[in-house]
Symmetry: D2
Amino acid sequence: MRPLAGVYTILTTPFQSNGSLDDVGLRKLVEASIACGIDGLTALGVAGEAHKLTEAERRRVVELTIDTVADRVPVVVGASRESTEATIEACRDAERAGAAGVMIAPPTFVQPGAALTRHFARISEATTLPITLQDFPPVNGVTLGPADMAGLVEAAPTIVTVKLEDPPTPQRIAQLVELLGDRDVSIVGGAGGLYLLDELRRGARGTMTGFAYPEVLVRIWSAWKAGDHAAAADAYYHFLPLLVFEGQPKLGVAVRKEILRRRGLIANALVRQPGPQLVPAIVDDLEQTLTWLGMDDEFPPSAEGEDR
Amino acid sequence: MRPLAGVYTILTTPFQSNGSLDDVGLRKLVEASIACGIDGLTALGVAGEAHKLTEAERRRVVELTIDTVADRVPVVVGASRESTEATIEACRDAERAGAAGVMIAPPTFVQPGAALTRHFARISEATTLPITLQDFPPVNGVTLGPADMAGLVEAAPTIVTVKLEDPPTPQRIAQLVELLGDRDVSIVGGAGGLYLLDELRRGARGTMTGFAYPEVLVRIWSAWKAGDHAAAADAYYHFLPLLVFEGQPKLGVAVRKEILRRRGLIANALVRQPGPQLVPAIVDDLEQTLTWLGMDDEFPPSAEGEDR
Amino acid sequence: MRPLAGVYTILTTPFQSNGSLDDVGLRKLVEASIACGIDGLTALGVAGEAHKLTEAERRRVVELTIDTVADRVPVVVGASRESTEATIEACRDAERAGAAGVMIAPPTFVQPGAALTRHFARISEATTLPITLQDFPPVNGVTLGPADMAGLVEAAPTIVTVKLEDPPTPQRIAQLVELLGDRDVSIVGGAGGLYLLDELRRGARGTMTGFAYPEVLVRIWSAWKAGDHAAAADAYYHFLPLLVFEGQPKLGVAVRKEILRRRGLIANALVRQPGPQLVPAIVDDLEQTLTWLGMDDEFPPSAEGEDR
Amino acid sequence: MRPLAGVYTILTTPFQSNGSLDDVGLRKLVEASIACGIDGLTALGVAGEAHKLTEAERRRVVELTIDTVADRVPVVVGASRESTEATIEACRDAERAGAAGVMIAPPTFVQPGAALTRHFARISEATTLPITLQDFPPVNGVTLGPADMAGLVEAAPTIVTVKLEDPPTPQRIAQLVELLGDRDVSIVGGAGGLYLLDELRRGARGTMTGFAYPEVLVRIWSAWKAGDHAAAADAYYHFLPLLVFEGQPKLGVAVRKEILRRRGLIANALVRQPGPQLVPAIVDDLEQTLTWLGMDDEFPPSAEGEDR
């Protein structure tokens, strides 16, 4: 049960034009992500529109992912539910399906306090998979201060990783690192990698997020891990225009799917509704951004990596 | 496809002491509710802790309810999901299970606007069960103005009933009644019946809510429907202490389960966590309230009904 | 610097038909409240639409109130501001004006944590008036758990009273009482007195709230204080229909002003906009409620008190 | 009464180490902004911590600003209040002080609907200064859809400009532009200029925001206005690392003040509490970001402009 580190890709969930799950696209996305050199995959994240899937679709996404991955990288599965019992059940489902860990956010509107602490403590007692605690207010309306997160980590010993997404993440990471002391818990960023460099500067050991060019996150992380912080900064700043464009709050998943479609990884950029839909002009702006960056849609990304 | 009218009881979901679904208690609750003279039952409401159940438990609750009801009253099933596709699927599941209608609230944080309108329009096109539109901000963070609700009714012709719970319900009902004009859509209240009399005064055709003494709601509604508004007022005001006590925001389900336990309808007052838990003193206060009212725990309620 | 106890009336702010402050009505309200036997007055509460007044109007309200009261009862002044500096300044203004205490809620969206604790600690250091800590999420979006409130009391020694309004108040009072131990801090309820009896049962030492018949709150509190809990319950339950009607969330101030107008205490029921406005039918329903209760609009209330 | 266009700087409010207003710093900031070639200044914005000032300080800020500006550029003054009456009063105060326009956001928690529409319509009738409608949910909890904003513009003819800050701003600008048709109303961005290029691409006629290097925004806007979109893109992308760093939600004002301090424009980076405070490591990261960019702290900025 080790803290997560490196680049964990939150898997996008592709749909066919009729709205149903696109199995082929999902497998291609898994393969492409692994080819990018990521350290792990996360299925059923918010970026994977997990909450917009039916229960059967969720199971299918997990099965397909784990089957396609075939043990090449660990797979974390989103298991947030609205009650302790349902969350425990989701954790056990994930374990049975072969997941290496689970990601859990607080239930909707359950603010920090005794009840939330008990929730995580009981999950930790009743399940065995390592837990990534997720902090992402837009999805549950819950704001966790650094002290709250440290308290949850204290109460639930199987929390091995905290994934911070509520900005300002670099400063909050700095505060949480101090509170965690020498406890063996890792912190990772998210939010599409928008603040990745500064998150690493403050002690993050990686990121768990969706981003349509996982190879970019891998390049930044690899340089950083190797101690070449200047190269990490150069790569991060180089790709910042795209991180900012894709990272637009509420629109991100739609932009990402459009890019993945252009890259030939998925056939359709459809986002489950109600959800973001790009007006045509935004697709043009994306094109302009990619052009300015000289980004290549091609896949595999190895070629892309060469000329920079 | 007729607008709902009368008293629809939102079914409480009982749990055994080990936390699992209490099938026996559920059947007893259904029988007791019907014995109280209600007009219909609603399974998988927020008051039924639907969002805290696993998918398997939800299916089980619906099956047990419909099986026990055996066509004596119509059964409405909660079908709110976070995407149009998942909601449609839930509606179809409800129909296959034998439901007479579905209750749907907006997805979390999806405020009124084009996307929400499309959501309900598409559900209405793709499914056949009559829809009760639910307005209850504490569960989804969505505030619907009267004009918003009228707009959704316009866009989704299978919405036959609007259930208002966001206070002040009497005034909002008055406003919605005016906006709906002669459209054949009913409005019902909720919120534990706390404002039932004034909701009826403003044009509600009943209530869809949980309350541990359904016979009380039935008595108020029956008198009102019979045109005896004075008797309705007397009954409502008589029981108001209990409506207020049980209706305490955030605590209601826990109080209700404690009463149902006292009445011998369920074996255990357990509420799924994170959720409300009564401190012992509040149970004493409930006792005092019931004593002051001279309430009888006994069931069937017929006896209780006599001496008043 | 003593904890508050008894009935503190939050003063309604009356306006003339042209929208400007109604000095005459304000003085009449102060006199009427004192005639009802209240223990203190609170100016510039949310129920006084303090946030909808200009700075000049706020000063005028405080001046008029303190001048009219003429030391007959203590006057607490609302002093919530968005920064520590501005709050301290408001406290000093209140002191200069002759206030006996201040009421302070957290700044908008500043959730519990180190920054909020520092806010209250610094105010406590820099000012001398006793502080009533206010808990009322609808006005600032801040949710305070019992432990958070106990922590603020610990950090800010001049907090002598906590006013709880976020339901369920009786249970939260029970929890806070336990956390406060033998610290000499009082807890009072609010929310229009809707839960007054149960708040007293759980240890509240009174209430600070607006209600159009302060004499009703005084009667309940007096009976309770005298140890006659049965009489307190009888009075509370007797007037509950009106407590519920006036206590409707978001509508309360408008209902209250309409009653005060009927009682001849203010000339105009105008509420500052954007704010609640009663549709005519609701005014009829109010009339029906008062009629059912046999309430007398007359003032002074002494007469009203006799025949019950 | 012309729609605003170009770069309007939201003036930062500097404080002395004792927490009181820094008049000297304020005058220097005004001069520096004008020297940067901005088109206008906005006093009492959220970025100016207007809500954290006392009423006297607000008056002082406006007086100092307008006096220092001495008619060289138009000055817009923030005038959002919680009631229509108080907002009208604030608009008149602004006019008397010599402002060229006002900026108004919806009152706290007043969601779109008839009441909000009336609020703006009445302000528009009762005052003469052109209004900039502000959309910024973090400060008031209000979410305005494009149709809501178009409706307010329709109802309040003196709204000449809409300032959008709720992301995704480029797409929302595209939608609002379409809804506004040929109505002579301008749209400007905000949010620290983070999405400035894409806002311009979608039809924004400038930006109204704080940013510690106004000359950067001016350079982007000037190039864009001159039709040299490539140069605008180059400038925007070049400075994006700093736009992202300073634009961190909730932390922005603190970062900006630290930069302004480094540039010698203000003596102290103090932010009114409760508010953001940079942990030391974040100051180091800012330094690294500036170093990577080769940013010069020097002022006047003319020198800075040369070497790029």
